[in-house]
């Protein structure tokens, strides 16, 4: 492959590869000019030069039809090419060329002047030999149209700018002439095939002027597009890219040739050494490819034997061993005798031997697993009836399950997410799979149930599965209780119901909540990453079989890109193959967006990448899609793109922003003047407003601006050191605490008397009142018994109690963590008012608080009573008494009599308001109502009350007996005092 072709191919590649970047740049630069155009312009710049040279060289081509003209007749089959690229001239062909040349003058061309001269020259030549002017169409359509019109003498060669393959495919002819316009492809050096509108094809020898013209065009662009919107001008970027490309090209071409040579040799040797079966497979595969190209390579090249498995050996072995443990129950009991299955036994033995051989090197997991495997329950089943494989997609879990089950002699029954997995159907299918076996067919193998994608199953279905495992065990337990003889008998009958077939479950996420119960009962196997070396080997193998040229570097890059996802790798290969690529190189791999999984990075890693400058990578293989353009010197633009991409793919903007906010001040900020901090906070504010607008107006199109905040933070704060990032909880904490405070305020407000309630709001409480209120309710009280207080102090205490009651405050006894008893305000306004770091406010003593609390309690009890009395001081009290009397007295008439009589007396007396004090008075103070004691009997009551009624009139002694506790001062009262 000559250099120009390669150059050309790469140019093409370049566009593919940097399509994304270019798009983004286009967003930044409004008048962005895609490189395709520049290329055209290069062409354009090139052509006149060759033309002039052709003129200068003075070997014109006669103006004839190409078909009519015998190739050998010309002295030198050169053709002058004038190619104004924007000028497709289908109508121009076939006619006499003198006319045509005159026509050229009328073309609106920037170079018309020069061309006129040229024409003049050509006219001269025309007389002598006849010059051939070729105006190739610029667009392929035109070209093909003209192509169809004509019979070609010259082999058709397409000038497909974008099709590298076709260029490659074009055969080359040896031509001895060394001019610039050739009828045949030049033997050496670069050339361009050009077809004119009349379908004549010539070949342009290419001189080494491309660099000069490229510079020219760049200068042109510089003049036009030097707005400097990118931090690094696009010209420089392009230049860098080109340089690197050159370097790589050289390296790669060398490496590739070496490698291909060496490896083809090797592998042919290998293939010879391998079993013929594989050869057949290859042949079959090829045949299939011809027949049905639609078949996925993933299926075509999926492993068919245990030895072909790509996944981790240890995992494979564990699963196989587990499955082998079922042999005793599945094959051993019924079939082992008649059908020993020698290869399996061999396998098993060999594995066991292996394990026994190296007991020293067991890892922890291995040991535990062996312990698990060692135990068999009474049915000779492994302890764990279910194996649960877990791991990210594309590691070959399903394949492993199928292969191993087949390998161990089972018939695989698969259930996956495409099946209905409601509980009943699940049950049914499990039963079908585990208890039945195929009658028809020669291979009457036992079933092995593979439940794929179990993490998507509803938890009901998983419970069914669990029940299948457990319920039967319990039944066995019953059977066991029945007696050993019964057990023996039962067992044989019950083989139907006991789970006697292995079940393999496969999931991606082991920690799905629905799987939790299953996790405990399953033999867990988590898949490690496939080893890239093995994967690469397999890929190379596949590619070779399909006739693709690959190199290890490219495959490594592919593996890395897909996170060693086998499926994705193979699919990508197939995709490329299907697109006509017969060669895979690293550049291609990295330019591809296929196989690139949606990056799902954890928040912490995103934060880390935002705050950390990317490390310079020596090896380019694993570099990210976006980092590529920048390469080693990852410039700000690329980093910006990278972070933008990260941020927009993470999706959790709220959390992301919060994390940045919580952490950015801990970063090492370089500038002294806090400008970057200001800027960062400006961004935070902007984002906040954006969010608010978005949520308020449901205008989610604004969401696309959110990822710019992390990008800005990256540019402001990224440092080379590893950042220490804390999980952002400040906002949430503040939120909960605010809510707590609010709740307390609401609790306080809830019971405040309406007349005050209407005056205090939450704000006014927290702003104005509470601090002062807490001061007010901490008066200086003498630490003595309140009964010893002076009237003034008593007054103060009453006021205090009053205040606290009216603001719904009280003290509540509480036990501190240290075991001390404290009285705390309830609701705890201290918490609302107090700020950390301020001097603590004066507190009342424990005793004072206790006393106040008691007073408040008492006052609370007193209040309703007092209110009742306060409403109508006399009548109400009487009515209350009446009621009480009515309730107390069993017989109504008696009570009435009594009350009527009592009323007379009561009206004359002064009402005393000390209901809690119970005291004895003289006959002139007969306020106390006679309440008959509950102790007195029914028949006694009437008489007693009658007596009492009489006594009201007759005697002047009254007494009242109140049930319950009383605070009354007790003193000795002698009967003589009463009389």
């Amino acid at each position: 492959m000559d250099e120009y072709d390669e150059m050309y191919g790469i140019e093409d590649d370049f566009e593919q590869q940097f399509a994304d970047e270019l798009e983004v740049m286009a967003e930044f630069e409004e008048d962005y000019k895609p490189p395709r155009k520049t290329k055209v312009s290069e062409f354009r710049n090139k052509k006149p030069l060759t033309f002039e040279e052709a003129i200068a060289s003075g070997d014109p081509v006669p103006n004839d039809k190409a078909a009519a003209r015998p190739p050998e007749s010309a002295v030198s089959p050169q053709r002058t090419v004038n190619k104004p690229a924007r000028q497709p001239s289908p109508g121009l062909d076939d006619h006499d060329f003198p006319e045509h040349l005159l026509d050229i003058d009328e073309f609106p061309s920037p170079k018309s002047k020069r061309r006129r001269q040229d024409v003049a020259k050509k006219l001269q030549f025309n007389s002598s030999e006849g010059e051939r002017e070729i105006t190739p169409p610029s667009s392929p359509e035109d070209y093909t149209r003209t192509m169809r019109d004509r019979v070609q003498a010259v082999p058709v060669r397409s000038l497909d700018i974008s099709g590298l393959g076709e260029l490659q495919a074009s055969p080359r002819r040896v031509n001895t002439t060394s001019g610039h316009v050739l009828r045949r492809p030049p033997a050496s050096g670069d050339y361009i095939s050009v077809t004119d509108s009349s379908g004549n094809r010539v070949y342009l020898a290419k001189k080494e002027e491309s660099t000069a013209t490229a510079v020219d065009s760049r200068a042109l662009r510089n003049a036009h597009y030097s707005l400097g919107l990118l931090s690094v001008p696009i010209e420089v970027l392009l230049e860098q890219a080109e340089e690197r490309r050159h370097q790589q090209l050289v390296e790669e071409s060398q490496r590739m040739t070496e490698m291909i040579n060496s490896r083809i040799d090797e592998e042919f040797g290998e293939i010879d050494g391998r079993e013929p079966e594989e050869e057949e497979e290859v042949a079959a595969g090829d045949g299939e490819q011809d027949g049905s190209a639609s078949r996925l390579w993933v299926d075509k090249f999926s492993p068919r034997h245990y030895t072909e498995l790509l996944s981790d050996d240890f995992t494979n072995r564990c699963l196989l061993k587990w499955l082998k443990q079922w042999d005793t129950v599945v094959f051993g009991r019924e079939k082992a005798a008649k059908k020993p299955k020698p290869p399996q036994v061999d396998n098993k033995l060999s594995f066991q031997q292996k394990d026994q051989q190296n007991p020293r090197f067991k890892t922890k997991t291995q040991i535990t697993e062996e312990i698990l495997e060692a135990e068999l329950d009474q049915y000779q089943r492994p302890k764990y009836k279910v194996a649960l494989l877990s791991g990210p997609p594309g590691l070959g879990k399903t394949t492993l399950a199928h292969i191993i089950a087949k390998h161990a002699g089972y018939n695989v029954v698969e259930m996956n997410a495409s099946d209905d997995r409601s509980a009943e159907l699940f049950q049914k299918r499990i039963d079908t799979a585990t208890q039945m076996k195929s009658v028809l067919g020669a291979n009457e193998r036992p079933n092995c149930l593979v439940i794929d994608e179990i993490d998507g199953a509803p938890s009901a279905a998983i419970n069914v599965l669990l029940a299948t495992l457990n319920r039967k065990e319990s039944r066995e337990a019953d059977a066991e209780a029945g007696g050993i003889g019964a057990l023996k008998k039962n067992k044989k009958k019950k083989t139907e119901s006991v789970l006697l077939r292995p079940i393999i479950c496969i999931c991606n996420d082991l920690y799905t909540p629905a799987l939790r119960p299953l996790r405990q009962q399953a033999f867990l196997l988590s898949f490690p990453q496939t080893q890239p070396s093995r994967l690469v080997q397999r890929l190379a193998d596949i590619a070779r079989r399909q006739g693709m040229k690959v190199d290890t570097g490219a495959l490594m890059a592919l593996c890395e890109k897909t996170d060693n996802d086998i499926r994705s790798c193979i699919n990508t290969l197939q995709f490329l193959h299907g697109r006509g690529q017969r060669q895979l190189d690293q550049r291609l791999v990295q330019s591809m967006s296929v196989g690139l999984k949606d990056q799902n990075k954890g928040l912490f890693s995103v934060w880390q990448e935002i705050f950390q400058l990317p490390r310079v990578k020596r090896k380019r293989i694993g570099e990210d899609h976006f980092m590529e353009v920048s390469g080693q010197s990852s410039s700000a633009t690329q980093r910006l793109q990278h972070v933008l991409h990260l941020a927009s793919s993470s999706g959790e903007h709220e959390k992301l922003t919060q994390g940045l906010y919580d952490n950015f001040l801990n970063m090492k900020v370089k500038d002294h003047s806090l400008n970057s901090v200001c800027l960062a906070l400006e961004w935070m504010g902007f984002c906040d407003i954006l969010n608010e607008t978005m949520l308020h107006g449901q205008n989610f199109s604004l969401m696309r601006y959110l990822p710019f905040l992390p990008a800005a933070f990256h540019l402001l704060f990224a440092a080379t050191s590893v950042p220490r990032i804390n999980y952002p909880n400040s906002h949430y904490e503040a939120l909960t605490r605010t809510q707590h405070t609010k709740n307390m305020l609401v609790a306080m407000l809830a019971e405040i008397h309406p007349s005050i309630r209407s005056r205090v709001g939450m704000l006014c409480l927290s702003l104005d009142m509470l601090s002062m209120l807490l001061e007010v309710i901490c008066p200086k009280l003498r630490p003595v018994n309140p009964q010893l207080y002076s009237t003034r102090e008593k007054q103060q205490l009453v006021e205090l109690v009053d205040t606290m009651l009216s603001y719904n405050l009280t003290y509540r006894q509480d036990r501190s963590p240290e075991g001390q008893y404290l009285y705390q305000l309830e609701p705890n306004m201290e918490e609302v008012v107090r700020f950390p770091g301020l001097p603590p406010r004066r507190q009342l003593t424990y005793q004072a608080k206790q006393m106040i609390a008691r007073e408040i309690e008492l006052e609370r009890m007193r209040r309703p009573e007092a209110m009742l009395q306060a409403r109508n001081p006399q009548r109400k009290a009487e009515e209350a008494e009446k009621k009480k009397a009515a309730q107390g007295g069993g017989s109504k008439p008696a009570a009435r009599n009594h009350q009527q009589r009592l009323e007379n007396i009561v009206k004359q007396t002064v009402v005393e308001t000390r209901p809690e004090v119970d005291f004895f008075g003289r006959a002139i103070v007969p306020k106390e109502k006679p309440v008959p004691s509950a102790a007195s009997g029914e028949e006694g009551k009437v008489s007693v009350e009658l007596k009492m009624g009489k006594a009201v009139g007759n005697s002047d002694v009254w007494f009242r007996f109140n049930e319950g506790v009383s605070n009354a001062v007790r003193r000795n009262v002698y009967i003589k005092e009463l009389l």
């Binding site: 806090l674 969010n691 005056r759 700020f835």
Partner: protein, 356 residues
């Protein structure tokens, strides 16, 4: 009613201590019989609520003072249940619709309509309209305010609205134009002093004029605060002395310390500390506007003259953004950081100037 604020609150228009001519006008308004919707606004602690209650008493007599708290449950169209407390007498209903948060529109629509749609039965003995008193109207959402517009006109025959708020700037213009706006300004220092001395006299205490003046100034002429301060002073030390220590609200002290911390050092670490303090203030239910206002007034007193206009402008800018946004802490911190940057720059320039 043991706090002095509650105990000595005037209950009729005639007894009001200040803005007496306004009280007279209100009285005339009631007597002329054509009572409009009112929009009462003014800073907190100026006596808006007191004035409104006096007005209601003037309208309906002492019956309005028999208040009860009603818990109402309103079902929003989205089946969401909203619980709200109202304070009501037989003649009026007081609602703080902003308690309902975002669904305040539903509260307005349901609650007010039910009140407004019911006619008074005995129109001969009492006025033929009820009053709905809406507090904190400036915290209502725009939706709720718009819901008010038509209601106000439609049910004019049966219902009058008295809207009470701190500032009219957040009340939409259509509502402002439908109401008679009554501004209740803060009492001046003398008036506060006279109220304080009057209350103390009623309590049988002697308040020195200097202390009264100090309290009045310290409270920012907020009468509620002044009375509470006075009572706290009384609790702390009775025979008043003129140079007595007047207790301060904790959050103000804290805010002042925060401002000092900002001025004393400008670094990201300090900013981090300030952030913690700002969070602390916010969690104590101190509104961000008030925080920024307090910070500005403290910072202004601490910085040079040529910085002042810039700082004030910044404060305005960030307060505006704070209202636009949702998370106050970002904007508060942005203001602090900006101040730090400016202050630091000016300090360094000052140092350079000293060097030369």
């Amino acid at each position: 009613m043991s706090l002095w604020v509650d105990k000595y609150r005037p209950t009729s228009l005639g007894k009001l201590d200040f803005h007496k001519e306004q009280a007279n006008q209100l009285k005339n308004l009631v007597q002329c019989g054509d009572f409009p919707h009112l929009l009462v606004y003014g800073p907190s602690g100026a006596g808006k609520k007191t004035r409104i209650m006096c007005l209601l008493r003037e309208l309906y007599g002492p019956g309005v003072e028999k208040l009860r708290i009603e818990h109402q449950t309103i079902t929003a169209p989205s089946k969401k249940k909203i619980e709200i407390n109202t304070i009501a007498s037989n003649y009026h209903l007081e609602v703080n619709a902003s308690d309902a948060g975002n669904s305040d529109r539903v509260v307005i629509q349901e609650l007010i309509k039910t009140v407004a749609q019911s006619q008074q039965i005995q129109s001969s003995t009492q006025r033929d309209f009820k009053v709905v008193l809406l507090t904190e109207v400036d915290r209502l959402t725009k939706d709720a305010q718009h819901a008010l517009r038509r209601t106000m006109e439609k049910y004019m025959a049966t219902c009058r609205l008295i809207l009470c708020c701190n500032s009219t700037s957040k009340v939409i213009a259509p509502i402002r134009s439908r109401c008679l706006a009554v501004r209740v300004p803060l009492p001046n220092t003398e008036e506060v002093c006279s109220v304080l001395t009057g209350v103390c006299r009623k309590e049988g205490l002697l308040l020195p004029a200097e202390l009264a003046k100090q309290i009045a100034e310290k409270s920012g002429r907020n009468l509620r605060k002044a009375l509470l301060m006075c009572e706290a002073c009384r609790v702390q030390q009775y025979p008043f002395s003129a140079d007595q220590d007047i207790p301060d609200t904790d959050w103000e002290v804290y805010l002042r310390e925060t401002a000092n911390a900002i001025v004393s050092q400008q670094s990201p670490q300090r900013l981090l500390e300030v952030r913690a303090r700002l969070y602390e203030l916010l969690t104590h239910c101190i509104p961000p506007e008030i925080i920024i206002k307090g910070l500005v007034s403290e910072l202004l007193s601490n910085c040079d003259g040529h910085l002042k206009p810039e700082v004030a402008q910044m404060a305005g800018y960030y307060e505006h953004r704070l209202h636009l946004g949702n998370k106050a802490i970002y904007h508060l911190e942005a203001f602090v950081a900006k101040f730090m940057a400016i202050y630091k720059k000016s300090m360094e320039e000052g140092l350079d100037g000293m060097m030369f």
